[in-house]
């Protein structure tokens, strides 16, 4: 494991300091550097707060800004932030309309955000949206649903847009829960990943193997198989997504191809090209697209494909202006 760092212990803090200083017109540290917040809060708007372990950058700090998040709490690498951080973010960004917490469905994240929400429940109105878009995790007998992975970006973008447009807390909570039913992701890794703290790879693949159904914490996936060509991999992923999505009455969707950190953009576009054709052949028009490295697992080689069904409302929310470090457009 070779990394540009001064030591595993200070890595996250040093990197966040660089991030905030590079984007200081847009973001700033919250009290005690416990979180990164939007520089200019919008009074009366519901505050959208997310967070999670470090190692997924640009998510979530890269999504702080106009039209998306008000604050992001970063934990240690692959480790949930603690309630202290979330409590501080709530206290600083709630301008009166309450806070919506967007939490990826990992027990650690869920419990830490939950403890924060319980702690402040007397003082702030809080709702929580749990993101669980990972198709692969569905096979597991697990009782409480899938993992939250790259689809989180879409949930944060759309909820951020709705909040910006004036939705109230109850409306956002309802929208968030509805979004979760329309977003499905599946990922494939070509390499494991080394956590700086332990300097050991989470799993190791042979030169001709890939790991199918991985999440974004370098954890092993559903199964391992010989690597295949792009057409085969894409159709395996797309079929799994379509099968899991089941019956629906959308005819248009957003297609997100997301790199895990170690896979260069051209390969993402190549898979996007195949996946788009496959989805369109199945009757779903790809009305919007996003291709890039957004929800990562340190420098893991691999990618995920996310399909997000769109209706008039969600299309509009996706198109709404966003101005953050990692995602920006103006329509």
């Amino acid at each position: 494991m070779k990394k540009f760092m001064n030591g595993a212990a200070s890595m996250v803090a040093e990197s966040l300091e660089g991030f905030v200083s590079a984007h200081d017109s847009m973001v700033m540290f919250g009290a005690g550097r416990k979180f990164v917040r939007r520089r200019h809060l919008a009074p009366g708007k519901v505050a959208i707060i997310s967070g999670g372990g470090a190692g997924h950058e640009p998510m979530h700090v890269g999504f702080v800004g106009h039209g998306m998040l008000d604050a992001a709490c970063t934990g240690h690498i692959f480790t949930s932030p603690n309630p202290d951080q979330v409590i501080a973010a709530i206290a600083e960004t709630d301008t009166g309309a309450g806070c919506l917490l967007i939490v990826k469905n990992y027990d650690g994240d869920v419990m830490n955000f939950e403890m924060a929400a319980e702690t402040v429940s007397g003082r702030h109105r809080i709702e929580t949206v749990i993101v669980s878009d990972d198709v692969a995790a569905q096979g597991a007998a697990r009782r409480t649903g899938r993992r939250g992975v790259a689809g989180t970006l879409i949930v944060e973008k759309m909820l951020g847009a709705a909040a910006e447009a004036g939705s109230d807390l109850a409306g956002l909570k309802a929208l968030g829960d509805r979004l979760s039913t329309q977003i499905r992701t599946m990922g494939v890794a070509l390499s494991g990943v080394t956590v700086p703290d332990t300097a050991r790879a989470t799993f190791t693949l042979e030169p001709d193997e890939m790991e199918v159904g991985v999440g974004i914490h370098g954890e092993p996936g559903l199964y391992r198989q010989k690597i295949a060509d792009a057409d085969t991999i894409a159709s395996m992923i797309c079929n799994a997504i379509l099968a899991d999505m089941g019956q629906h009455n959308s005819d248009q969707a957003l297609l997100l191809v997301n790199g895990f950190g170690g896979t260069p953009t051209p390969e993402l576009y190549l898979i996007y090209n195949v996946a788009r054709r496959l989805f369109e052949a199945s009757g779903i028009r790809i009305a919007r697209s996003l291709v890039g490295t957004y929800v990562t697992s340190l420098d893991m080689a691999g990618l995920s494909v996310t399909l997000s069904l769109l209706d008039e409302e969600t299309l509009h929310l996706w198109d709404a202006p966003v101005l953050t470090a990692a995602l920006r457009w103006l329509r």
Partner: protein
């Protein structure tokens, strides 16, 4: 008050020491079916507590436990922080509010229930609860400390046969079978260390 202080410091040191010396093993277990950080997480929490041990030693035991629990929640992160934190916070609170008659095993039992509620987990889910529950039954049975420790270790071993239903390992489905749960392992290590310490501290 002198005894209280020695006990708190002793327990903190014991736990700190056992986690520090097994952090790599715990990470290794977590690498197999999780994200490889359980040892790092636990060490971070124990380090924070250890650093503050002088202040903690000055508190009454119930308050010390509650404070330690909160410190774990605020420093560990990950799944294990809220779980171990809840355990200690709940034991501490109940110990502080204890009426004459409420026995320690009962209190621990209630705290374990709070942990299960926090984790939405139950026995057999392949988590630290699969050590906590058996440890609690031995306590209820007033088993000797060595027996409690042995039972904790056996119970951790038994998680290898289970299929994970909660925590990161649950995403692996059947692939989680055959590996010891890291949280169960840290729990058995801590139980054993604490039992050994109490035995030396209050030799039978």
């Amino acid at each position: 008050m002198q005894i209280n202080r020695a006990l708190i410091l002793g327990l903190i040191e014991t736990c700190h020491e056992v986690i520090a010396s097994h952090a790599d093993d715990l990470c290794e277990l977590d690498r197999a079916i999780g994200d490889g950080d359980h040892g790092t997480n636990m060490r971070r929490g124990c380090d924070a507590v250890y650093l503050d041990r002088e202040r903690l030693g000055a508190l009454p035991l119930p308050q010390a436990l509650e404070t330690i629990g909160t410190m774990l929640v605020m420093s560990v992160g990950g799944a294990s922080g809220p779980l171990y934190g809840t355990l200690l916070i709940e034991i501490g609170r109940r110990l502080g509010a204890r009426q004459n008659g409420a026995d320690f095993a009962n209190i621990v039992g209630e705290a374990i229930e709070a942990v299960a509620k926090r984790g939405r987990a139950q026995a057999g889910d392949k988590t630290l609860l699969d050590v906590l529950y058996p440890v609690h039954s031995e306590m209820v049975r007033q088993s000797a400390l060595v027996h409690i420790a042995e039972r904790a270790q056996q119970s951790a071993q038994l998680t290898a046969g289970m299929k994970a239903m909660r925590g990161r390992a649950s995403f692996l489905g059947d692939r989680s079978i055959g590996h010891i749960d890291p949280g169960a392992s840290s729990c058995a290590l801590l139980t054993t260390a604490i039992c050994r310490y109490l035995k030396e501290y209050h030799p039978a």
